[in-house]
């Protein structure tokens, strides 16, 4: 996954999000300005990382600058706390694209993203019991 290649980026709406050196546009990464990795925060969100809207988000003026895909993701986040995987399924976008877009939204303070549970920290017995009872009751 390298991002340095020649080719001109698009001047699509919301292109202020795109970094200048963004590479060639192989769809569907066009809407991320060719970027295949999230921005400076450099986190690769887990599929089950949960995304919540920030309780102190930037104002409407900043929001108006967002591209359509960023905005539709934000709308989905506002409806319900969802995982990265659900957002990708709902927005009908590949996970890689959603990761990049979420990275932008995180950088600009619109959302917060949970870290995945490290393998060594599996949930305690009480939670697992709750899951088992919940499954039985399903």
């Amino acid at each position: 996954m390298n991002e340095d290649s020649t080719g001109d980026g698009p001047s699509a709406p919301g292109s202020q999000w795109y970094d200048a050196e963004a590479g060639p546009l192989v769809r569907p990464y066009a809407m991320t300005g060719g970027r295949t990795k999230p921005g400076p925060s450099n986190v690769r969100f887990d599929l089950i990382a949960l995304v919540v809207v920030d309780d102190d988000p930037p104002g409407p003026a900043d929001e108006a600058l967002l591209g359509p895909e960023h905005r539709s993701l934000l709308t989905l986040c506002r409806a319900e706390t969802q995982s990265v995987a659900e957002l990708a399924a709902d927005a009908d976008l590949p996970v890689g694209v959603v990761r990049v877009l979420l990275g932008d939204l995180l950088e600009s303070g619109f959302v917060r993203v949970s870290r995945p549970v490290p393998p060594a920290q599996l949930p305690d017995e009480r939670i697992l019991r709750e899951v088992i009872d919940g499954l039985r009751a399903l």
Partner: protein, 205 residues
């Protein structure tokens, strides 16, 4: 649960700290019933991941070096079971082909455990999945999908044929049946809990 938050807006807050997401993988050979099982117990949705086959796929998917950035779409099954508000179980049907091992690595990160579906008519199809989870010490159960017409074997026979570690549960199931699928998941969560407790005890003793 800790939240990533941009530097600009400051520190984490704990308002949503109770939200918990657990991940269970559903693996097994092609046509064994992964999609069927995920669909039986949850609202299933297709999930697309757009992967760049730079390392993993190069040898298999060799396009003669025409384009270094071969992008391929991998579809996975994906389902969610809401236990309660703030506690959800996420099911992922792992992509079948070997060239997507790198996706397995990501999927298995932090997973609670896995269900390996098996069909006794072609048991060898689940060997790679069994090996994978054994090597990574990820708790798994083997669920034998009892297709009609297939000779039925007992759980002990399957356990022996797969040379499973002692204690690895083998469950007979019907992937199309919701209750049967639920039972498989329950056995897995119970087993994962036992494994986890055992490891904790090991680490202190």
């Amino acid at each position: 649960m800790a939240y990533e938050r941009s530097e600009r807006t400051g520190a984490c807050d704990e308002t949503d700290s109770t939200a918990l997401a657990l991940k269970i993988l559903v693996a097994g050979g092609f046509g064994v019933g992964k999609t069927t099982l995920v669909g039986a117990v949850s609202e299933i949705r297709p999930l697309r991941t757009e992967e760049q086959l730079s390392r993993a796929g190069q040898s298999v998917d060799d396009t003669g070096g025409v384009d270094q950035k071969t992008t391929t779409t991998v579809a996975m099954d994906f389902g969610r079971i809401t236990i309660r508000s703030g506690l959800s179980l996420y099911l992922f049907g792992t992509p079948g082909q070997d060239r997507f091992w790198f996706l397995w690595d990501e999927l298995s990160q932090g997973a609670l455990g896995a269900v390996v579906l098996a069909d006794t008519r072609r048991l060898e199809d689940c060997f790679p999945a069994v090996d994978y989870f054994e090597h990574r010490k990820i708790p798994f159960v083997v669920a034998v999908n009892c297709f009609t017409g297939a000779r039925t074997y007992g759980a002990a026979d399957v356990s022996l044929a797969l040379d499973l570690d002692r204690g690895t549960p083998v469950v007979l199931c019907d992937a199309r049946d919701r209750d049967s699928g639920k039972e498989v998941l329950i056995r897995l969560v119970e087993y994962a809990g036992r494994m986890h407790t055992a490891r904790l005890l090991d680490s202190v003793g």
